[in-house]
Symmetry: C2
C-alpha cells in the first residue's frame, strides 16, 4: 500500500459516482501531483482484480469505475448525456436463462443496462 494507491482508493471512495480512468487521474493529481497515468491504470486494474471496484462499459468511450462493488446492482444510463445511476431491479435474470439457451457455457454473471433519457435531458 503506497501513497499512490491510497490516493486512488480515496478518490474512488470519496465520490460514489462512476468515474473514468482519466477523471480518477485528474482527481488523484490534485492530491498527489506527481502521480502518473500508468500508476492510476495499474492501481485501478488491481482494484478490479481484487473485486473492490467494478469496471462498467456502458458506452463505447472510456471505461468507468464503480466503487460500489459489494452491493450487487445494475445500471440505468441516459442515452443523451451519459449519466449513470445504480438501480436494483427485482427478479433474477440468471434464473431467466434456460439451460437450452446456455450453449454449454458456465454462466457466472449477468449485467443489466437500462437505457433511457434522464429528466434533465428530457426538458
Amino acid at each position: 500500500m503506497t501513497a499512490q494507491r491510497r490516493v486512488v482508493a480515496e478518490v474512488l471512495d470519496g465520490e460514489h459516482v462512476h468515474l473514468t480512468a482519466d477523471e480518477v487521474h485528474s482527481r488523484a493529481v490534485a492530491k498527489l501531483p506527481e502521480i502518473s497515468r500508468a500508476t492510476v491504470y495499474n492501481t485501478l486494474g488491481e482494484l478490479v482484480s481484487l473485486g473492490e471496484v467494478l469496471e462498467v462499459a456502458t458506452d463505447k468511450r472510456a471505461k468507468r469505475y464503480d466503487p460500489n462493488a459489494h452491493r450487487p446492482h445494475h445500471h440505468l444510463v441516459c442515452a443523451r448525456c451519459g449519466a449513470i445511476k445504480d438501480v436494483h431491479p427485482t427478479g433474477n435474470p440468471l434464473a431467466d436463462l434456460p439451460d437450452s439457451e446456455r450453449f454449454g457455457f458456465t454462466v457466472s454473471d449477468v449485467e443489466v443496462t437500462y437505457r433511457g433519457v434522464c429528466p434533465n435531458c428530457a426538458a
Copy 2:
C-alpha cells in the same frame, strides 16, 4: 443505395455473427477493393440509426455489429475468448425495474449481458 453500402449490408447479412467494424471492413474490401474505412464506419452508423443493425459493446475493445436487430435478444459472452452467442431469456427485465428505481428517466430499452466460460475455453 450505393455499391459501397450494398457491400456493407451484404457482409453483415451474410454471416450471422458479431463482427467488429474492422472485420466488416476487411470483408467488404474483399468484395470491393477500394472501399475505405471511413465509408464502412459511416454506413455502419447509418444502419444503426435506421435500426437495421445493433451495436454491441460487450468488451471494452472494439464495438461489434449485430445484424439480428429485428428479433429482440440478449447476449452471452465468454469471458475467456470473447465469443458471443445470441440468447432469448424468459421474463421481461423492463418490468423488473420499479418506478421508484427509475429516477424520473424515460426508460426505453434494456440490454442483458450474461458472462461465463464457453465449453471450448473450459476444456
